[in-house]
């Protein structure tokens, strides 16, 4: 069967027939399932996974067309990164984050950076709420709305993270990717580490345990002695704060 697979590739590269290409598409389509499943995990539930798969299929077809079997690399590795890029590109271009939520996130970030330059320290929720003329409940509702969009929305808006990264969690995890990305990654981790270091205690703990220790929100809840949904709010606030800091 391995020979059949090699033959199909050789035949396709030689004659570029549609039927061979279609065989390869069907054979490797499950790679799109993998990528779409993982990206969907960071998105709200109303995002149609079939749509994500459709976007990913373009990346797969692109990969099949461009792949050179002679060069000795693994197709799966090449395809996964093209599929991921295709899904993220399409998501960005359809601008899937609701305007209203994006606007609220921006206003919270602005309040955070103004308070920070005023007090030279991370602002408390009370101060942020007051600055925005909101009650604590209203501010928490905003955090909930933003976090209900999932982590892709939050992290995606970070100023570094190359266009190919779906979250800066990705950026951090990529450190085993080899020499190419290594230098950038070390720099990024340091930048990130410094910014996190100057945050409030709870925000610092949540960000560090989530991105550097890879604990889940629920496990972090056990560390802090709070509910998972509370950790979720703190995480959202912390990422917004990180963004407002990194952007200024």
């Amino acid at each position: 069967n391995q020979n059949q697979l090699d033959e199909t590739w050789a035949r396709y590269k030689d004659r570029a027939k549609q039927s061979d290409r279609d065989q390869l598409i069907v054979y490797y389509a499950p790679l799109v399932k993998y990528v779409a499943g993982r990206i969907a995990a960071g998105l709200p539930h109303n995002v149609d996974q079939a749509d994500l798969v459709s976007y990913g299929m373009f990346g797969l077809i692109d990969a099949i067309t461009k792949f050179d079997p002679e060069r000795g690399f693994k197709f799966e590795t090449y395809a996964i990164s093209r599929i991921k890029g295709a899904v993220l590109d399409e998501l960005r271009s359809i601008d899937w984050v609701p305007r209203s939520v994006r606007a609220k996130a921006k206003s919270v970030e602005r309040a955070m950076s103004e308070l920070e330059s005023l007090h030279h320290r991370a602002p408390t929720d009370e101060e942020i709420a007051e600055e925005l003329d909101l009650s604590m409940t209203q501010l928490n509702n905003i955090y909930n709305q933003i976090s209900s969009l999932g982590v892709v929305a939050l992290d995606e808006m970070l100023p570094f993270g190359n266009g190919d990264s779906m979250s800066f969690g990705d950026t951090l995890a990529d450190r085993r990717d080899g020499p190419g990305g290594q230098y950038e990654r070390v720099e990024t981790r340091q930048l990130l580490g410094d910014a996190i270091n100057r945050m409030g205690e709870r925000e610092k703990i949540v960000l560090t345990l989530y991105y550097y220790e890879s604990l889940t929100l629920s496990e972090i809840g056990n560390v802090l002695g709070v509910t998972e949904s509370r950790v979720c709010q703190i995480h959202t606030k912390a990422v917004l704060q990180l963004r407002s800091r990194l952007q200024s």
Binding site: V26, I80, N197, E219
Partner: protein, 161 residues
Amino acid sequence: LPELRDLRVRCAQVESDVSLARRVAQGRLDIVGREVRRRAGDPDGTAVPGDHVASVLFELPDLMSDGVSGGSPSGRPVSITAPGEVALTMIERLDTTASPADLAQIEQLGVERLAEVFENISSFEAELSAVRRRLHETIDAIQAEIGRRYRDGEASVDSLL
């Protein structure tokens, strides 16, 4: 703690590879399963042969998605990284169960061959899911212990940063 963390990282890398191979197996299983269901609902085999690839291509977005978007959000940091040796080896094993031609011409596959392909991929997927479940238990136990140390003050985020 650094040893625990290192153990966790290594387990997680294997888990990520196993999860990739599992998803590939499931994707292929669902393509084969579609044919099995089609024949079950069409005992006279009156389907139009030769049009299979076109109709599968058309259905791929539904076949390749999880239907209900994968259960409750796990609050777990997820990333997509390059496949490691474990993933590539398992996928190579999976490749031996069915060739591109098998899947492309699945409507012409004999009854026994179809059952064989379905059985092989299905048991391979079950194997991968079982390994993955055990890895999850291990990783979750390690993470619970790491969490405990932070909670009980034996570790602090400052040393990490």
